[in-house]
């Protein structure tokens, strides 16, 4: 079933490439949709480094290992995150089932207490690991929650991009996502975001995301991942950098990774 789908998808992409023309006619919404799909990996194993820098330039560095896998036709992503350093949090793990249509399931394991706890949270736009990145940055949003406008084309680091404005359709959505407007620069060659500018709820410039080094992780399906992401909080002067040190596309990640039993096996 899955393979079949991939083949169709691959074929579709091929058709798209062959015809080439339709790209010109994509609507802003379609571009954003394609953009989120362009980074959705069927499965992966990642080693990454998160550096959080405060307004005085002090750093906090976390090394993390994670595995991800798509389930339910891509509607659910399961993620296991394990801290490798610093030593005091080494082994801390977080298992997330990220559902498209309902609140996530999360379990946390704390090795110092040898304890796993389920976390129930209705929060979505919350920051991730105390960084400037939010969960909303990491996961695809509900497309219909926003209105889109293609503002034009612009080069970002010599890559030609579409400049697209995203505005939440109502205040609840704005509250949930934490921004009143987002201007995204999406590369025409691979649909991966190269730059994004966030405006806070009172309309002021809030954060700026820059993406460097985009790698095609799954060449077969044309899936990409940015290797270097920088988020700057323009209001508070804080920065966060997420660097992917190693990434392995692997659609066959073992299912047992995504169990609380495995979470506790440390």
């Amino acid at each position: 079933m899955k393979k079949y789908k991939i083949i169709i998808l691959a074929f579709g992409t091929l058709v798209l490439f062959l015809t080439a023309e339709p790209q010109e006619n994509l609507t802003a919404k379609q571009i954003v949709d394609r953009s989120f799909k362009a980074t959705k990996l069927a499965g992966s194993e990642i080693l990454s480094t998160m550096t959080i820098i405060d307004d005085k330039g002090r750093e906090r560095v976390r090394k993390i290992a994670s595995v991800t896998k798509l389930y339910d036709n891509g509607e659910t992503e399961k993620r296991l995150i394990r801290f490798l350093s610093p030593p005091d949090v080494k082994g801390t793990g977080l298992l997330t089932f990220d559902y498209e249509k309902r609140d996530d399931d999360m379990w946390l394991f704390m090795p110092a207490l040898r304890k796993t706890r389920r976390i129930v949270s209705t929060e979505k736009a919350k920051n991730f690991m105390g960084s400037e990145f939010t969960y909303a940055d990491m996961t695809p949003p509900i497309l219909d929650d926003f209105s889109y406008e293609l503002l034009g084309e612009e080069d970002v680091n010599e890559t030609s991009c579409w400049r697209i404005e995203m505005i939440p359709v109502n205040e609840d959505v704005a509250d949930e996502n934490g921004f009143s407007k987002r201007v995204t620069f999406i590369a025409q060659q691979d649909f991966v975001i190269r730059r994004a500018v966030y405006y806070d709820l009172d309309g002021e410039l809030h954060k700026e995301l820059s993406v460097e080094e985009v790698k095609e992780v799954d060449p077969e399906n044309h899936k990409y991942r940015p290797m270097h992401m920088l988020m700057v909080n323009k209001q508070e002067g804080r920065k966060s950098i997420l660097i992917v040190d190693e990434i392995q596309f692997n659609p066959d990640v073992k299912d047992e990774f995504f169990t609380t039993r495995y979470l506790e096996r440390y």
């Binding site: 959080i52 405060d54 005085k56 002090r58 906090r60 801290f83 610093p86 030593p87 005091d88 949090v89 801390t92 977080l94 999360m106 946390l108 704390m110 090795p111 110092a112 207490l113 304890k115 706890r117 389920r118 976390i119 129930v120 949270s121 209705t122 929060e123 919350k126 920051n127 991730f128 690991m129 105390g130 960084s131 400037e132 205040e171 509250d175 009143s180 709820l201 009172d202 309309g203 002021e204 209001q235 508070e236 804080r238």
Partner: protein, 757 residues
Amino acid sequence: MSGSAAKIVRFRWLVIFGFLAVALIFGSQIPRSEIESDMKAMLPPDIESRINTDKIDELFGGTEMLMVIVKTEDVLSPETLVRIEDISKQMKRIRGVDKVLSLFELKNIKGEEGAMIVEPAVGRIPKTEEQRETLRKEITENDVVYGSVVSKDFSLTAIIALLKTDVSDTVIVEEIRQLILANQGEEEVVIGGLPFARVQVARSIRVDLRRLLPLGLLIMFLFLFVCFKQLRGVVLPFAVVIMSILFSMGLIPLLGWKIHVISVLLPIMLIAIANDYGIHLIAKYQELNYEGNPYSKKELAMDIFNHLTKPVLLTGLTTMAGILCLLGHVVTPARQISVLAASGILFALAASLFFIPAVVSMLPKAKPALHSRNSKRPILERMLRLFGKIVTSKPKEIIAFAVISALVVSIGIFFVIVDTDPNKYYPKDHPVPYAARLINDNLGGAQNVSVVFQGDIKDPRIMNKIDNMEHELQEMPEVGNTTSIARVVRQMSRALNDKDEEGYDRIPDTRNAVAQYFELYSMSGDPDDFEKMVDFPYEHALLTARLNTASTKKMDHVIDRLKEKTKNDQDVRLVGGFGSILSELAHKVVNGQFLSLGLAIFVVGILLMILFRSVTAGLISAIPLAISITTLFGLMGIFRIELNVATAMLSSIMIGVGVDYTIHFLWRFREERQSGLDSKEAVIKTLTTTGRGIVFNALSVIFGFIALLTSSFMPVRFFGFLVVVSITSCLIGALILIPSLCIVLKPKFLEPREIRV
């Protein structure tokens, strides 16, 4: 001397334009002055509590907040909750608002059936009575909001806007006001918080300056007219007052200072004091300009200068000395007022001695005015004569009576309260103290005091120490709500462990466990959630206790205990916070009070000793001052008038101004004794001649300060009341007590010279 007088007349145009030009140039600077409504600026930056509080701001960021307080029967009623949610949401969209804390924004983190649940304190607005009660129970158990964001009886709730750093007070307060107007309902809604208080204070300062100044001037105008019944008698002292106000107010921006709350006293002080010297010159002018006098207008001008230079200089000097003793205060605005008022008086002194004669020498001679004042004379003269009779017949009894009544009133001194709370600026029902009272009584407290810990904050040893100190603080009745990182850890321990588990509601035993708690929190929290409790590298932690009292004395108690507890603790870096600033301000006010008062008595005493070339002179003149001071503080205690930044300035000013009357009396009395009168005759003669001038002088001061009674600020009003009382007591001292002392003690320095050999 007469040479100078001639020069004044010769160069009168130069003198007149010189003074006018200086006044106008300085006056033109006044529009540049800025208003300082921040309480913190009352203390110089190098004072411990300010250094510490600035350090806290540096480590943990500023904590400016505005509160919208909603008061109703039950804040959980659906209509009220809808309104709170609306206000809360719209508040987030106001430019300058960084974050909003309200029932809808703050979290409820709890443990339930093996899971940790993170949800807004109010997630859904209850539809049924049963849901409402469930929600109420949940909130009661949520110590993030219970007793701080919502009152324990659910009649009040606060929607708090944490402000960005670069936001203007006036703009943001107006935005919040509009927000409230746009969401009106049955509930009573008020604004609270320091930015709001500052806006009110700044506005009141402007209102005061606009109201007090014209009122004071009007009163002075009428007073002068009643005294002199002659246009120049009104206009000339009046012109001196206006010029000296322009001069000293213009100095404020020129010296780089700002207008503080108590700066509104400055122009009023000048209205009351700066005319004194001019009054004497005009009185002398009228005295010399009798019917059929032989003098030309220039001679009159020179005569008044020559006659009065010395006494005017002397009284001016003592007044300036008294006021300059306010430099004994550490409190910034008191020091500034000291310099400004002394400069203004110096200017007035110079203008009275030069400008008035210069103008008089130009104007055509006035019609003799004294006959018209004759109708007034009998009342005052009869009164003064009566004083003379009483004094001469029962001097000892008077002294005894004065001492005894001073002693009786002095009991009040033990009840004098020191208070520097800015909420006391206003009457009780004013929005600023009203909001503060609501917060104090129901929402955890309006002021705060903080302790900074340093070291490895994740170390359970330090974490437990913070936790213990927080518990001790919570046990003090003056402490309302407290926040600390230890409290967060505890809260998480309750969410991560079930009630019967070992780790429930306690700091974990290992450093790693603490670190993992934090990591867990940061999984879903904002990066700045802990900003006010622990710094980025986890090297400093802040324990903040909100104080539910407006009394500086009670705050002092908490701060003293905190300092005592943390004195030799290596893990505690400092104690600070706005409450500690208020407390230190109170200490500084008391110390400054003693120092400036002591200095004023000493300096004025020395001046008098030099003036009369006698130690006894200094001591004798100190007696009525001492009695006036005792009465002043006694009455403050009896009337529950607090010693604050404004009223603490009173005694030095009183000494500087009040001693003038004694000087005038002694000066004339000695003259009369030397001209051959015995002491009783001399007393009566002095009282009926110079006594009139003294009464006019004192009345002009009293009337000058009366305008203060209409100030927006309570401390300024009390200042006005007390100045009236204390100048009156100085007047009585000079007219009754000093004469009695002269008769009983017969001090040598006043005796005729022949006998002294």
